[in-house]
């Protein structure tokens, strides 16, 4: 297994998405095509240029630090399951 194939297997494992064997095979083929497609981007001489991290200049925007009360009843109503003051979720401890 080459590096890309091993990397893809690792990605499938850590992202926790169930994929069937046929889909897995297809993903391997498609990843190879995708990486080939990206080759021209890799050939661009970017030198010491800093990468961009934000698409806008509004960084660290602060709002007035004043307490506000949310409508808890509205939020609780939107939850799939709320009872006894708790948001109930499926069991996540084994």
């Amino acid at each position: 297994m080459d590096n890309a194939a091993a990397g893809l297997e690792k990605a499938i494992e850590i992202i926790k998405i169930g994929v069937s064997d046929p889909e897995r095979d297809q993903l391997h083929q498609e990843l190879d095509q995708f990486l080939d497609w990206l080759e021209t981007m890799l050939e661009v001489d970017t030198g010491d240029l800093e990468g961009l991290l934000f698409s806008h200049d509004a960084a660290n925007v602060l709002r007035v630090d004043s307490p506000r009360q949310s409508d808890l009843a509205e939020l609780q109503e939107a939850a799939p399951n709320f009872a006894g003051g708790f948001y109930l979720v499926p069991k996540i401890m084994e």
């Binding site: 990605a11 926790k16 990843l31 661009v44 970017t46 800093e50 806008h56 084994e94």
Partner: protein, 472 residues
Amino acid sequence: MELRKTTVHRVTEAVLEGEITAHQLIDKTLKNSNILNEGLNLFNAVAGVDAIEQAKAIDQKIKQGGEPPLAGIPVAVKDDLCYGVLPTSLGSTAFSEFISPVTAGAVERLMDAGAVVIGKTNLDDMGQGATTLSSPRGATANPWQAERTAGSAGAAAVATGICMLAVESDSGGAQRQGASHCGVAGLRPTTGRVSRHGLNAHCSSFARVGITAFSCENISGVLDIISGFDERDAATAVCRDGIPEHIKTPGSEDITIGYPVTAFDFLEPELREVFEQARDDFVGLGYKIKEIDLSLLREGLQAYYVIALAEASSNHARFDGIRFGKTGEADNLEQMYLQSRAEILGQEARRRSIFGTFLLSKGNYGRYYRQALKIWQMVRREFEGVLQDCDLVMLPTAKNLPRPLQGESSFLDEWSDDLFCAPVSLSGLPALTIPAGQIEQLPVGMQLVGPPFSEKTLLAVGSTSAPRPAQE
């Protein structure tokens, strides 16, 4: 009153002056939407009683002396924008019954101005795509040729005259390409002009909320209403003290349009001819044309996909069956996660999330992701550079005519359709799609791209120049 043949201003005037009530207008709109939805697959959910109640409330407000500036205007909302009345599916069957506790900021503003939401429009799998071909509910057909995709259901809803406006997300070009394929106008605004609150973005860096309408005039009529600071979206802080408009009087010979010669080499000859004609039409209208070079379109597209996939892998992490989405049936926790996520994310969203995780992993981060961030910087600088020499840039919107609903295409073919839109997304600049011409009875759109907050200039130029394709 046929909505395709009039304007937002005229309809509002008619409602305010009592020629037609908002109730009558919306009632007729809903009947039309039910008829057309069956043939074109426009809506994931249609508002019935709620829209009628909204319309009645507007009529009541008018009786009491109110003058809502968008009184009774029917609006469609893309189904990745939250609306607290109808389900917000995000393009996944797992959320087909999810009703958000919030309504998107842009939608709220339109409703406050008297507009009425008539439905949630179809979209690709988790909003990822510009064809609707990956929608779990099936693709939306093009109103011009039903065997082809519309690109965006909102644009199709506007083109058919069901609604006058569509509020749509646009990351790599879905809204703009939909407008191009359906022969209508679509504005992707400058970063920070319109609130993204309530938008379920797969790609936070590039997702914006735009407006699609039958004409530039109709977009102009709502731009100020949806624009401005919203404390729930930090990017709008640039508008905290007002919109920093960049307006240049259009129609004069002082306007120079940049024409990126080599960009058109990516097109088939018949498409290229459409843009050569559009360029000549601009000259005929008195605009100056300056040949420019945009050399990084292909690499910009590639960088967009690297960043967008990386962000999707992170943004989709919350769809795990615990925090969001239906919980899959399984014997143990590991299987429950695998099952839930496989059911929530469709094939396109799974592919993008998995590839995104790959790109962010050790060894690949530096090779692909870091390089993509640098290309992002270069593309932004390239656009800034050409806009030093011209007032706006014209570009194609879509690389191809709309895809056939039944055709075979690879994922890379479909991603490559974003060639002219994705680099503009990287630039952060506003882009207006307007009709440029027609091929094989299908509309072809072009983009006008300008400096930050130049939307009003783009709309003014667009409204003087756009030869609207005629469709009966």
